[in-house]
């Protein structure tokens, strides 16, 4: 006996529903991009903890500049790299609220390095989500501070030459050295198990804010199909093969 579609869509058969805190707006992200999953799990945690009326997010400049269109929470959009300073301003005047930034590698590790380091050093009671895909996505695939050695981008068309362009920067290892950082971890969102682990880390980060523990820094190593010029599945394989050895997954502190 075959099951009809009517049976399948019954409420009791439902195994997944989109969190209410994601709007119905179609993502502006490329198919296969990790941003969508990262957005979802952060919103799920906020919904599960019942803290939407106490949460303020800060969007960066980059692909996720429009994160506020998808996250149904109060949000501010910061100048390029300045999200940790903006979050500091929010958290200092609203010390009991949950404040997070959501930034890419160009935003956080290049133009915003000073803001990142000092928000971490001061131990601001915030969460910094750091999406690292080793490239500037929004502007069309230029070299980022996190671009791997030899990796071709539109501004390193012959591959990143370490002598000329320096080394990939490992931000999570750097901020883990700072006393103001309670929790520093590097995760991914390309497999179901990776998503589960990342969600656990996200939850821990929000708990840390609740307990006023200082900065929780969550790096999510992600892909950029368009920038890497790889189909989504291939991009994830490439990420595992080349990104993970340079940016190893796991907790670094806390």
């Amino acid at each position: 006996m075959s099951i009809s579609i009517q049976d399948i869509i019954k409420e009791e058969n439902k195994v997944f529903s989109k969190t209410k805190l994601l709007t119905d707006k179609v993502f502006s992200y490329c198919p296969g991009c990790g941003h969508g999953v990262a957005h979802r799990i952060i919103m799920e945690v906020i919904e599960e903890m019942g803290i939407v009326n106490q949460t303020i997010g800060v969007a960066p400049v980059g692909c996720s500049v429009l994160a506020y269109d998808f996250m149904d929470i109060d949000m501010q959009q910061a100048a390029h790299g300045r999200a940790p300073a903006v979050a500091t301003g929010i958290s200092r005047v609203f010390p009991d609220k949950y404040v997070f930034t959501y930034q890419g590698d160009g935003d956080l590790a290049a133009i915003g390095t000073a803001e990142t380091i000092h928000a971490c050093s001061r131990g601001e009671n915030i969460i910094i989500f750091f999406i690292n895909n080793g490239i500037y996505g929004m502007t069309g695939g230029q070299m980022a501070p996190t671009t791997l050695e030899g990796m071709k981008t539109s501004t390193s068309p012959h591959g990143r030459d370490l002598h000329q362009m320096g080394f990939p920067i490992k931000m999570t290892e750097i901020v883990a050295q700072l006393d103001g950082v309670q929790f520093a971890t590097r995760q991914a969102v390309h497999t179901p198990s990776a998503v589960r682990k990342t969600k656990k880390a996200v939850k821990k980060a929000f708990e840390n804010v609740k307990n006023k523990k200082g900065v929780s820094f969550i790096e999510i190593v992600s892909n950029c199909n368009s920038g890497w010029k790889l189909a989504p599945v291939k991009a994830n394989e490439w990420m595992e093969e080349f990104m993970f050895p340079v940016y190893p997954i796991g907790d670094i502190k806390g």
Binding site: I51, V52, N53, Q54, T55, I56, V58, A59, V65, L66, Y68, M71, D72, I73, D74, M75, Q76, Q77, A78, A79, R82, A85, V86, A87, T88, G89, I90, S91, R92, V93, F94, K97, A114, E115, I117, H118
Partner: protein, 386 residues
């Protein structure tokens, strides 16, 4: 009414912030305004009024902290001096674009570059003609005393919230560093969380309750049509500010034949120059813009009815003088006198510059009269011949 106190201009800014219900100050040390941060950290208002005081890692971070706090509907203040204000321009443009209320203090020093630490007024263009990118205006208040330095903090916040627009207090190193008596106001309590929600709930980020849509503070529109519409809205707002918020002061203008236009420290020096000139029988007056945006264009234009010439006195190579010329529209001579790079002119130097201008105007007038008389005589002669 509160007490009378002898205060430094920079301290007056800090004390006014504590007393007017300011929620947060974010700053970075730079001469000649570091006393603002020092005074606030010493007073530690977090323990009394609950006002947050934080030393940021840079002027850039400080202005972005202001952005974050202002976008929560809080009264946020920052201060710096010229090189630091240059660093803040990106943030100021974002604050103007996102229509956030905030107060920024510039205790101006001589430039360009690292320049000097002495007083100057060479940031006029930066203050009133944009400074950062995009079509935006700041409400610019120019104090010329420590009392005004004090009063303009509260006024600044009132205007900033009335129009949801950043307000710049354009001071200078002289007013920041000098001491004068100040009438201190009583404490105005900071807004409670309920009041903040009531006042700013339609736009600020407090955490989304179920009763409303999420609030987003941004200056981004990917599409040009809504961005143009946003710009139209901003321009309408600036027009409204021009219509309603002009502030200026006239000093001995009633019978003045020659008028100084000066703001801030220069206006104080012009007052002394007027006194010296009047002792010599010169009919001198001063028109002092208190707001630099809006600028008293009409008042300057009206003054051309009586005044024979204008002298814009600025501690700069000549910036505001361009706006005076635009207002006068070529009807009368407009000249500039300034010392700059950290130098302050003496009142007798200013008077001397005015006397030179007067001499030129009178010489021209005499020549004109001579020419007229000659023409008249020629005409008469012709008539007689006929």
């Amino acid at each position: 009414m509160g007490e009378l106190r002898l205060m430094k201009g920079n301290e007056a800014i800090a004390e006014a912030a504590i007393r007017c219900g300011c929620d947060a100050y974010f700053g970075y040390p730079i001469t000649p305004q570091s006393e603002i941060l020092e005074y606030l950290t010493l007073q530690n208002p977090e323990k009394t009024t609950g006002m947050v005081v934080l030393q940021a890692e840079s002027e850039i971070a400080a202005i972005n902290m202001v952005y974050g706090a202002a976008a929560c509907g809080k009264k946020a203040l920052t201060s710096s001096s010229s090189p630091g204000i240059s660093l803040k321009q990106e943030g100021i443009s974002y604050i103007a674009g996102a229509e956030l209320p905030a107060v920024i203090v510039n205790v101006v020093r001589g430039g360009p570059g690292l320049g000097t630490i002495q007083p100057s007024q060479s940031d006029y263009f930066q203050s009133v003609k944009g400074g950062g990118h995009g079509d935006y205006k700041l409400i610019v208040l120019a104090p010329n005393s420590v009392q005004e330095q004090y009063d303009f903090v509260k006024l600044g916040f009132d205007l900033a919230f009335k129009y949801r627009n950043p307000v710049l207090i354009l001071s200078d190193g002289a007013i920041g560093q000098m001491m004068e008596k100040v009438q201190i106001s009583d404490f105005t309590p900071r807004w409670t969380e309920e009041e903040i929600v009531q006042m700013t709930g339609s736009w600020a980020t407090h955490g989304k309750p179920e009763t409303r849509k999420h609030n987003i503070v941004t200056s981004l529109n990917l599409q040009p049509e809504p961005q143009e519409e946003h710009n139209h809205h901003l321009q309408r707002k600036y027009k409204e500010i021009e219509d309603n918020e002009l502030r200026y002061e006239k000093f001995f203008c009633e019978d003045a034949e020659y008028v100084f236009v000066a703001y801030g420290t220069s206006s104080r020096l012009c007052q002394k120059a007027i006194q010296l000139g009047r002792e010599k029988g010169l009919k001198l007056g001063l028109l002092r813009p208190i707001t630099l945006f809006p600028f008293p264009k009409k008042q300057i234009k009206m003054a051309t009815k009586k005044a024979k010439a204008f002298l814009a006195v600025e501690m700069s190579a000549g910036q505001m003088v361009e706006d005076v010329q635009l207002a006068v529209k070529g009807k009368r001579p407009v000249k500039h006198f300034g010392r700059y790079g950290g130098m302050i002119p003496m009142p007798d130097e200013i008077l001397e510059a005015m006397e030179e201008l007067i001499a030129k105007v009178e010489k021209k007038e005499a020549k004109k009269a001579q020419k007229k008389a000659k023409k008249k005589a020629e005409k008469e002669a012709k008539k007689q011949k006929n």
